[in-house]
Symmetry: C2
């Protein structure tokens, strides 16, 4: 969350999902730390659309940074969430019981960032970069600033590290995220991203994720490069 | 970390490793919440000695509580630590680089407790119980009270929950842990536990884990029931 400029030799690890937000964050990290000091990590956690991981690998290659993929077989065993259980419809509906969307895997981002921190710790990397945002708040409490700030403190205490979690999109709207991508030269890479909840390529254009993405580009007055390639 | 008595209908989930400390915590939870309100969770994370999981299942059965086992294949992929890599000797030596024992998996307890919290969240369980202790401090920063307190805050924020993490052994010496086990009627269950770093049954008696356990029983003036059964 620190805003000060990093020294030239500091390294950053970007949690890269293969989507629009984390790809924009990758270019933010490259802009700030330099290509040679940036690497990416993705998680094969049983997500419904394995195409996300292929996108992440392609985006990293496009940006000339490495991409590690760590398996996590625990969420599937925990079960009961829409993103890993193909029997559950993805409608972004709110669960009556929890008040959270049915795509919610409890603590998913906490787990991703904790494993990313362990991977970074082993390599002397102090900066983690994540695309979470609370502005277009979609019901995920593990994307909020107070959660990320608390997690940073927990990781520092639990690993005796000086890790810094950067969430450059935290307070940006989707429109502002698109504008940031433009400014960072990330638009060509956004053509390689995957957003659609239904796993469609070209994107379905109708699911909540497609709609939110389209809204961001429309408000920024730009065409989505993902749609131009199709 | 709360010390107040739980209401009768509150449920607790014990992170059960199959060792002495978590088994003592299971009996602490049963004493406080009642057998019917306690369940246990174990993790198959690629530990060197799979016998730990068999012990956990047997201990839960002995105590008449359920035992779920969740897989975590991520630590093995992270690699490089002694507990999951059979090529690395377990000598409890301190790494010159990190100042931590070579059995340290960065953030291991953070991951266990986060997954336990997700599992508990799905079942309406508010109380997590862990056997971590900072008294016989063995170099694991994720076992310290400040880490556990910070993690509790992170889990509450990240899952919108009111989870409470109990670490009843946090400030007890090994001697006091043995005395607590005696007081809770947990000694017969301790005969079913596994402690030895070398995976030996009967225990090798020479590794740091065996030595620490023996010291605790000796100082409490009790015979270790694990040794009596052999």
């Amino acid at each position: 969350m620190a805003k000060d400029l990093a020294a030239n030799d500091e390294m950053a690890l970007v949690v890269l999902s293969g989507g629009q937000d984390s790809t924009t964050c990758l270019y933010w990290a490259i802009d700030r730390f330099g290509t040679a000091n940036v690497s990416t990590i993705s998680f094969d956690y049983g997500q419904r659309h394995i195409i996300e991981l292929e996108c992440a690998a392609r985006i990293a290659e496009h940006a000339s940074v490495s991409n590690a993929c760590l398996p996590i077989n625990t969420f599937a065993a925990l079960g009961g969430d829409a993103l890993t259980d193909s029997d559950i419809a993805v409608d972004n509906s709110i669960s009556a019981e929890s008040g959270l969307p049915n795509t919610f895997v409890p603590g998913r981002n906490l787990v991703f960032l904790t494993f990313a921190a362990a991977y970074a710790y082993q390599r002397g990397i102090d900066h983690l970069v994540t695309g979470v945002a609370q502005t277009d708040y979609s019901g995920y409490p593990d994307c909020r600033e107070d959660t990320i700030r608390s997690l940073q403190q927990t990781l520092r205490a639990g690993m005796e590290s000086t890790v810094v979690i950067h969430a450059p999109l935290m307070h940006l709207s989707k429109k502002e995220t698109v504008e940031l991508a433009l400014q960072l030269g990330a638009l060509p890479a956004l053509a390689l991203t995957h957003t659609c909840y239904n796993g469609a390529r070209p994107p379905c254009g109708e699911c909540p994720a497609c709609e939110l993405r389209a809204k961001g580009f429309a408000e920024a007055g730009l065409e989505d490069p993902l749609l131009q390639t199709k």
